[in-house]
Symmetry: C2
Subunit: 882 residues, 2 copies
């Protein structure tokens, strides 16, 4: 093999660079980059990750020539440092560290002080005039090599150290003297013997043992698990590189030290250096947290020159990398060395502030800022979260589906009316229900959060919670709700009504007790600025799903450009309306139904006026009645009796209606446009309310109203033809009589697979499409979202499905239908407006798909609008990159 | 317009020909063809159906030039006959008849003897030396023109005739003498006056009144209804042509007559002339069934020369048209005229026999025979017959003519509308009428059978019944129908409306009471031969859906080439198994379930052995458990209590299980492969039973067993991957241990839209596909088959859907998925076997689609296998034609 495996760096010249992360790993590439920038970095070299790939493909052996290359590199390292590897006089010591393209902090092996043996330790002692330091380095090396490369249990070394400290009556390692450490070295060697291992005095042998260990750690259980948890796909990476770097020592005395620092504050994003250091210490001491580090200001006081140099380097690095840097440094007897630099992790708040600030500072442009902030960051800053400290002490008892993000804490209440009553008084309440129904909406609105034991990501509880921006955990199947008995149980833990619990709607976690929450920042300052830039960039429009004027106003505040879905039936459930709806349902004749509808008409018209007002100038898509009629009727005997009385009919009559309307599979039953085809008078009333509202607003205040009438559940062009004719007749007649100009559209949901498949036919009649991806997912998978809790968690756990398809659009199946429907629809009507109003409209991964599929807009719950705006902009930029 | 509208024929030369049916109609085209063949046909001409189209597109007016063309044709007709239209000396009389491309017997208007008026009637009397005949012709013409062209109620004329006969004390029309008929003519004219109508003495005026009436009758209510019932699409036809032909008279005395005949027996298909005639009569007398006609043998005795000529002409016609002909003839004073020929209607049995015989006779080839027989014919010959035992105990009360074969049982209904109404509801009805007329067609279509007291084998009732495959007994003269009083009487036996009777259309028997019918089994004779040819032609394989050995045996007898679907859960419902299934369901641990499954294993294995034996050498596709588990549990309290007792658990425990398994939309719930993914032990048991059965048969009797294990409801490749691994491990281990060779396959249903969309992925793992078009239709339309009754009838009635998609595959939607799934599947695995096992597998229209979509086989219920074999062959031939 003629390939190059080893990349050397020293004295301002490196063979690698920052762009070579794939083969040098993040650490190696950045060490090379820093070297080239003239920043002081100890000399060393990186063995390419391609060697790691070869290692695993060839039964843990190395490619030909590697040993030779490493040997040469070691020779060059000896020259650069003026020391000799294994030289008893002037020994060269090295660190051997892993470093993959994607950072996996702490997951893989590191060995320091390699090159020490019984002879070189003496040389080191002499060279540094510090025998205590030399033996301390030796005993550390003995432990690391034994543990990491030879599998000797770490605790054996630690026990020996502890015993030594106890015997001496001291607490800290630094309190042990030279002799103690020499004894410890002997004790450690005995541990090797006990374990039947040989400590190699040969430094070459040490080196290869360490290299083996580092490559081997790529496939260690914890590394595999880390990649799994963090969704790092192994097959997309070569493996890890190995960095072999000359040791510098922060523990050589008072003029030495080590530290870590961020170029900006990773918690707030403020443009200020943030870091800490330890005098007379090695890096591991900082990480291990044994001694409490000092703030970086102390360094300024102790070594002002070093401090100034460090600040200069950090500024240089940030400017060079154009991102906040997280660096490690060591000071060896007054000389500063940079050991690592990388883009620093940060809180969501900081991520947004840093991105926006850097645009203002001219470091990056708006597009880069938009790509750099994660949608989760925007989501997090807009929702309450738990106080981290309190959270770390809380007890998690169960996990459900993270249905609506944010943290909430309150007392458990099972009854919705009671929750509403307490909530109105300002008390913090968590509403806990097996599942919710329209009757629970009041309680949900006044609770801090909602917890259900049944239902999926698109269950009633989930949809409503997201709509009103309340944290919710749903489908927590291990939670057994005993409403009647006034408690819920998770295994052995019993939580009574009135007890405090906390829920995390972003993770699905359910915790005992009251955990303080931190209020969200709101849509202002840097977040607002960032989303403004996102708006400039994105191609996809962003609308909101909103049923009532209050929601529409929230949506506008969050930047929605119209309503993509108003579910008219939600209005039907309100207390003053449901009796009228029921009257219509039990009417035996068309005339009877029309009479009941006549009473609903003025109420619906007022609702629409409110929506149109809140969205003046923007389109408002109103979906005609969708759910099966039985949803509007009571089902238990007691309620039936009461309702029958109200309606002035016998219980038996009402029960007969309930029975006649019951269906085995209501999801596939008499609902959507099938209802209005059977009872066109409902479509007529709703059209009158929509167009009537538009006309009145036009006349009263000359408001620009853009109504879009949407017909649900169309599967066949003829359904649309039938209803469009009825709607058009009513609407055109009203507009003509009113003598005003109203530009209304008639379109359809695409939520039945057949509609997507025959979209070219349907587009001949439909003026717009809106993909109802919730139902489309149900039909395409044959998954009832109400019942999917029985097997979906298992599917996710067994890896049969990668994502919950109700949360993230299934690209290959449902997505193929969305793509097909859009393409066919636009081929038949080039100006067809195509949107999506399912839950996926607010999911970033799905939004990226919708962008690529050529949709015109997404519509989501008002609280998701900011996330959707950012995701849409990122989708635009990602497509351009390609 | 330079177009030609009128096509003349006379003396061996015609402007039209048989191939011009589209514009000349069936009757006109065949009159032209016969003229060209030198067969004696009265001269005449045909007004093209294009005129009919113009007529309806132009507000019932005629194209320019038509009147001129008709005038010229009439002139040529005068020349050809040597008579004059309206000539008082030698009057030319004509018939005016409708004739569309598709025969609609009796549905449209006919006017005979046109050209008679107060003067020409005298000329006719002189010319024929038969004044009685002339006045009889005149009064008939008055009635027909009045009724048909001027809307004078027919019964007024009939009452006048009846009164006249009563007054004279005679029974038959022929018993009235010249003077009676002259008086009748005057009475008929009075009826015109009473109705404020003018009888036109001008013959031109008569002619155009008649032409108007015939074109007008195309859109008469009964004609529209007929087309609706017979699925004749109006828009695919121009309309009707009008035939104007010189009259010849069968009622000019003893040397005259009229008749109808078939070149082969239309009931049995025997190659023998079959017909009847009436001496001294006009055609309408035969059709009306007023006088009972004589068999054709009588003609041989009475007029041997005419008989021989007729036989010669019929042979010539059949050879020319290569199909059995239905002809009408008239003998005018010893001279034979052919008035019509057409392909004769026939029973299904006859259709098959004639097609097969004609191949043997060299008239047509096998392909033509296969295309000529309708799938309905094959279906009908396998129609129910009476249960012999029940029949032997039944009381026969009368016998009529065996007009249309088959057995039928139902309640007596006299009114056709009522019969239709009840029939639509699925009630079994026998329509009982004195005779039938075109108004009765609706009731006939929805009755189980038809019984009339009058008319012959070619009466309206008989012809229509054979056409629609309904058993019929006609001309049962001892049956006295008292429609008004709501009963019929045979001697002393009174049968009231609503009473059950049974009729045998093959024997003519009428029996009291409800006699159970059973389906015939076995194919033999001509049907077997025809299907043999179909097998040679078809590309699609035909399998059967069968769950038990008995069904598998029937399927083999019917020609099934394997089992395409064995629903294993059907076995689970049997009495000895369901307790074991329930034990499994209530078990709380895997071990508990495995114990219960262990008990089921030997039973399932025996079932499979039976199936494999019956299908030795053919593939047997066994679907793993499909329905949701709650289907196996009781649901009402009483049963729950009993079952709980059997299971040795408390009612509450069982009820909790029932509740925990209940789903809102079970169709989209925890079933199919989702069950076996949750409980892999069920798949393990079923695999053991399948492979175990195969191994035992192989060892016991070296039978060739081809098991195909089918996984239901797969939507994602990973579901298949997961289960295939489990099944393969068990199967391969068993086969290895048994040391035999078993070639088994693992495949999947394609019944979830997502599976069809991602078929290329799925085919990487599946060795075969079977489209479950029932479920695929449910998901693609979002129609629950159990609930669709709430709106589907309305959809069909309103024309929103053309067909019930559960009966005939929806080409555009579900069909597109079938096509996509097949194409994608085969692209990923070229030898993928693709079939269908939904109800559509036995529907001819759907089979034609499956052929075109490139499927390999269809699978249907055993009794549909013969139909499927024929349909598959026809699909092959139809594709080749293209």
């Amino acid at each position: 093999m003629a390939k190059k495996f080893v990349y050397f760096f020293a004295n301002g010249v490196a063979e690698g660079k920052a762009g070579m992360k794939d083969i040098l790993g993040g650490k190696g590439a950045n060490l090379a980059e820093m070297t080239n920038l003239g920043i002081p970095v100890p000399p060393g070299f990186t063995i390419s990750a391609e060697v790691c790939k070869y290692f695993y493909q060839n039964n843990r052996t190395y490619p030909d020539g590697l040993r030779e290359e490493v040997k040469n590199a070691m020779k060059k390292l000896e020259e650069a440092t003026g020391k000799g590897f294994g030289d008893p006089e002037k020994p060269l010591l090295v660190s051997v560290r892993s470093g993959a393209a994607v950072s996996m902090p702490g997951m893989m092996d590191t060995i320091l002080n390699l090159g020490l043996n019984d002879k070189t330790v003496e040389g080191l002692a002499k060279m540094t005039s510090n025998p205590r330091f030399a033996y301390d380095a030796y005993r550390r090396f003995l432990q690391m090599l034994g543990d990491t490369a030879l599998g000797i249990p770490k605790h054996k070394f630690e026990t020996a150290l502890d015993n030594m400290k106890k015997a001496k009556g001291v607490k800290l390692d630094v309190e042990l003297d030279e002799n103690d450490l020499k004894k410890l070295v002997e004790l450690y060697k005995k541990i090797y013997e006990e374990e039947n291992k040989q400590f190699p005095q040969n430094v070459e042998e040490q080196l290869w043992l360490a290299i083996d260990a580092v490559f081997g750690s790529w496939m260690s259980e914890r590394a595999i698990k880390y990649r799994e948890i963090n969704n790092i796909r192994e097959d997309q990476m070569l493996g890890t590189a190995v960095n072999i770097v000359a040791m510098v020592f922060g523990n050589m005395g008072e003029k030495s030290g080590t530290g870590v620092a961020f170029t900006r504050n990773p918690n707030t994003g403020e443009n200020e250096i943030y870091g800490e250091f330890l005098q007379n210490a090695q890096g591991e001491d900082v990480v291990a947290g044994i001694r409490t580090p000092l703030p970086l200001d102390e360094l300024k006081r102790l070594m002002p020159n070093v401090y100034d140099e460090l600040i200069g380097i950090m500024k240089k690095l940030e400017k060079h990398y154009k991102d906040m840097q997280d660096i490690e440094f060591t000071i060896e007897e007054g000389k500063l060395y940079m050991l690592q630099t990388r883009n620093g992790k940060r809180t969501s708040k900081a991520a947004i502030k840093i991105a926006v600030d850097m645009v203002h500072e001219g470091l990056i442009n708006k597009e880069e800022a938009v790509m750099r902030v994660k949608t989760e960051d925007v989501e997090r800053v807009l929702h309450p979260r738990f106080d981290e400290k309190a959270l770390s002490q809380a007890k998690s008892i169960a996990k459900g589906l993270p249905a609506s993000p944010g943290a909430a804490t309150g007392v458990v209440i099972f009854d919705s009316s009671k929750a509403e009553e307490l909530g109105r008084k300002g008390e913090q309440v968590i509403l806990v229900r097996p599942e919710t129904s329209p009757e629970d909406v009041g309680g949900m609105a006044f609770a801090q959060g909602i917890l259900t034991s049944r239902g999926g990501m698109t269950s009633h509880a989930a949809v409503v919670a997201r709509g009103i921006g309340k944290p919710a955990v749903v489908g927590a199947e291990t939670v057994e709700v005993k409403e009647e008995e006034g408690f819920f149980r998770v295994n052995d833990t019993v939580v009574r009504e009135g007890d405090w619990i906390s829920i995390n709607g972003s993770t699905g976690e359910i915790l005992l007790g009251k955990i303080p929450t931190i209020k969200p920042v709101g849509l202002e300052g840097e977040v607002a600025k960032l989303l403004e830039w996102a708006d400039e960039i994105r191609r996809l429009g962003v609308r909101a799903n909103a049923d009532i004027p209050r929601d529409a106003e929230v949506a506008r505040k969050f930047g929605a450009e119209g309503i993509g879905l108003c579910r008219t039936e939600h209005m039907f459930f309100e207390k003053d309306r449901i009796p009228k709806v029921r009257k219509m349902i039990v009417a035996k004749t068309k005339e009877g139904r029309e009479k009941a509808l006549e009473e609903l008409l003025p109420l619906q018209k007022e609702d629409f006026k409110g929506l149109f007002k809140a969205m003046a100038g923007y389109p408002v898509t109103i979906r005609l009645i969708d759910p099966p009629l039985h949803e509007f009727l009571p089902h238990d005997d007691e309620q039936i009796e009461a309702t029958a009385k109200d309606l002035g009919i016998s219980s038996k009559e009402l029960k007969d209606v309930v029975i006649s309307l019951s269906e085995l599979n209501p999801m596939l039953g008499h609902r959507g446009c099938r209802l209005t085809i059977t009872y066109p008078e409902i479509a007529v009333m709703q059209t009158k309310a929509i167009i009537g509202a538009a006309i009145e607003l036009k006349k009263e205040s000359n408001l620009d109203v853009v109504p879009e009438i949407m017909i649900p559940l169309v599967g066949h062009i003829n359904e649309l033809v039938f209803l469009k004719k009825i709607i058009k007749e009513v609407a055109d007649q009203m507009i003509k009589e009113a003598n005003v100009h109203i530009d209304y559209k008639i379109g359809t949901m695409i939520e039945v697979p057949r509609a997507a498949i025959t979209a070219d036919e349907i587009a001949k009649e439909a003026e717009f499409f809106s993909f109802g991806t919730n139902d489309l997912t149900q039909m395409t998978f044959a998954f009832s979202r109400d019942d999917v809790g029985k097997f979906l968690p298992e599917y996710l756990q067994k890896g049969i499905l990668e994502h919950d398809p109700f949360k993230t659009l299934d690209y290959e199946g449902v997505g193929a239908l969305v793509e097909m429907g859009t393409r066919k629809g636009k081929s038949a009507r080039s100006n067809l407006k195509v949107g999506v109003c399912g839950e996926h409209g607010g999911d970033p991964r799905s939004i990226s798909f919708f962008h690529k599929a050529g949709l015109d807009y997404v519509s989501c719950s008002p609280y998701r609008v900011p996330v959707a705006r950012l995701a849409a902009a990122q989708a635009t930029l990602a497509s351009k990159e390609k």
